[in-house]
């Protein structure tokens, strides 16, 4: 099922889900259609490009953190796989 999402800035590597979505649902992004690899809650983030370990995560056009582990596009991005040194 196609779900609505928001890519805030063209540079962003994640999109924000505008509704709760299930594994297998899809979102339309500037990088094409992305298939969700897991269930994702409203307002949570999905990778819209393949992200390598240590790669910057961009939202609002700015770096909000970096990947602790690699995650393919369609992955839920949150503090289980994303880190941020500015929070220390």
């Amino acid at each position: 099922m196609l779900r609505r999402c928001l890519v805030i800035d063209p540079k962003d590597t994640v999109a924000v889900l505008l509704e709760k979505a299930d594994k297998g649902d899809t979102v339309q992004t500037p990088h094409g259609e992305v298939i969700l690899l897991e269930d994702i809650e409203f307002a949570h983030k999905v990778a819209i490009v393949d992200l390598d370990a240590q790669q910057k995560v961009l939202k609002h056009g700015h770096e909000i953190g970096y990947m602790a582990d690699a995650a393919p596009k369609g992955s839920w991005i949150h503090n289980h796989n994303m880190k941020c040194d500015r929070g220390r």
Binding site: V16, F42, A43, K59, H60, H62, I64, M82, R86, R88
Partner: protein
């Protein structure tokens, strides 16, 4: 672009024509309230300070109360003192009188207690009301407007829809029409200081941005112990549940309110920018809704634009507060409290740019006299003098 406002003796421009009744100390609050009730158009600025204060804390009170009296949305002022307070009524009176604004003063210990003081205060206020009766608005340039930017009672929609809408409005007012906006809540902006500094008009302002942010951070740390390590302690469990993964991501939601204009200067609490200086300002304050709105109004903002995802009824006694939400169900549930619905971003993909234009149009209408929801409900909760 022009709007119709009120030009004051000191040249500043107001969007309302209130007669303010300002106690110099909390002991005079009830008396001031009774005076304001006896004057059509009278508003009381009730507060809990004015005595038992020293140093910077006292300075904040003195300059904030004086800034309220001198605010361009205020036509005339009745100062109400007790007589033995630290912040003397005469000092407040003189701080307002020297700008050329009509001002009167009553002092409870000198004027015979509450009832005679109220009677005298109402007579002074009535004379001001007579003079101001029917005063016509005059044409003013939109570049003379300053809008305070604020969020409170935020939720996941704030950073995605309502705050970016404020940012788009701010960009129009500042970049297209040469007006001003004020961003603050520096504790909420921790971790974006490098982005803010990059937008400074020069190196000196960039240094001031870092200094202001670190000052706020230092003050926060001084109140913390080992249970709150680092900036992530500023995040609540609800932030993580709501999908926010880092302090930078949280801060960016609030940062969006400032749009993309260059940062003209860092200004201090309740001290207006140097005359003639315009643009996007960063005020050195943290984020208590009332305290920071009061400081921004003290810096000269005639209008406040306030986003809230969860809903919030608050208003300010002398400045219209425009309430904006990006949450569709909050808007439907609390329509009486809202002026602007930005939920289309999430509900049906509305564009931030279009919403920013619509919000700017509303700002201009409010400047011309259209009442906001908080004004219709006589909300005045946001007047809170900042403490140090």
């Amino acid at each position: 672009m022009k709007f119709m406002g009120y030009r004051r003796a000191d040249g500043r421009v107001g969007v309302r024509n209130h007669i303010a009744v300002i106690p110099s100390v909390f002991c005079a609050a009830k008396t001031a309230e009774m005076i304001a009730k006896g004057i059509e158009g009278g508003v009381v600025l009730r507060h809990p300070v004015g005595c038992g204060q020293v140093g910077l804390d006292f300075e904040f009170t003195a300059r904030t109360l004086t800034a309220m009296g001198n605010h361009p949305n205020v036509a005339a002022v009745v100062v109400v003192g007790l007589g033995c307070e630290r912040f003397k009524a005469a000092e407040l009176y003189e701080g307002i009188r020297k700008t050329g604004k009509p001002v009167g003063m009553v002092v409870i210990q000198e004027d015979g207690g509450t009832v005679p003081t109220v009677e005298k205060g109402i007579r002074i206020g009535q004379e001001f009301a007579r003079q101001e009766n029917g005063r016509p608005r005059v044409e003013c340039d939109i570049s003379e407007l300053t809008v305070a930017l604020k969020c409170g009672g935020s939720d996941a929609t704030s950073g995605l829809s309502s705050n970016p809408t404020l940012g788009a409005m701010s960009d129009l007012l500042v970049k297209k029409y040469g007006g001003s906006t004020i961003l603050t809540e520096l504790n909420e902006l921790l971790s974006t200081e490098h982005m803010l500094a990059e937008r400074a008009v020069n190196k000196e302002v960039a240094d001031k941005i870092y200094a202001a942010v670190y000052e706020v951070e230092e003050r926060l740390r001084s109140h913390c112990d080992d249970r709150f390590p680092g900036r992530n302690a500023l995040m609540s469990p609800g932030n993580f549940t709501g999908g926010i993964s880092s302090i930078v991501e949280k801060a960016l939601g609030g940062y969006e309110k400032g749009g993309s204009a260059p940062i003209t200067d860092v200004i201090e609490y309740s001290i207006p920018p140097e005359p003639g200086k315009k643009g996007l300002f960063l005020m050195n304050s943290d984020s208590h809704d009332g305290e920071c709105v009061t400081g921004m109004v003290g810096c000269g903002a005639q209008i406040v634009a306030f986003t809230t995802g969860r809903g919030n009824p608050t208003g300010f006694p002398i400045a219209p507060v425009i309430k904006v939400t990006g949450n569709e169900s909050t808007y439907k549930k609390m329509q009486d409290n809202f002026d602007f619905d930005a939920s289309g971003v999430i509900a049906h993909g509305a564009s931030i740019e279009d919403l920013g234009k619509d919000l700017f149009d509303l700002v201009v209408r409010v400047a011309n006299g259209e009442l906001t929801a908080a004004e219709r409900l006589a909300g005045d909760e946001l007047f809170c003098v900042g403490r140090r």
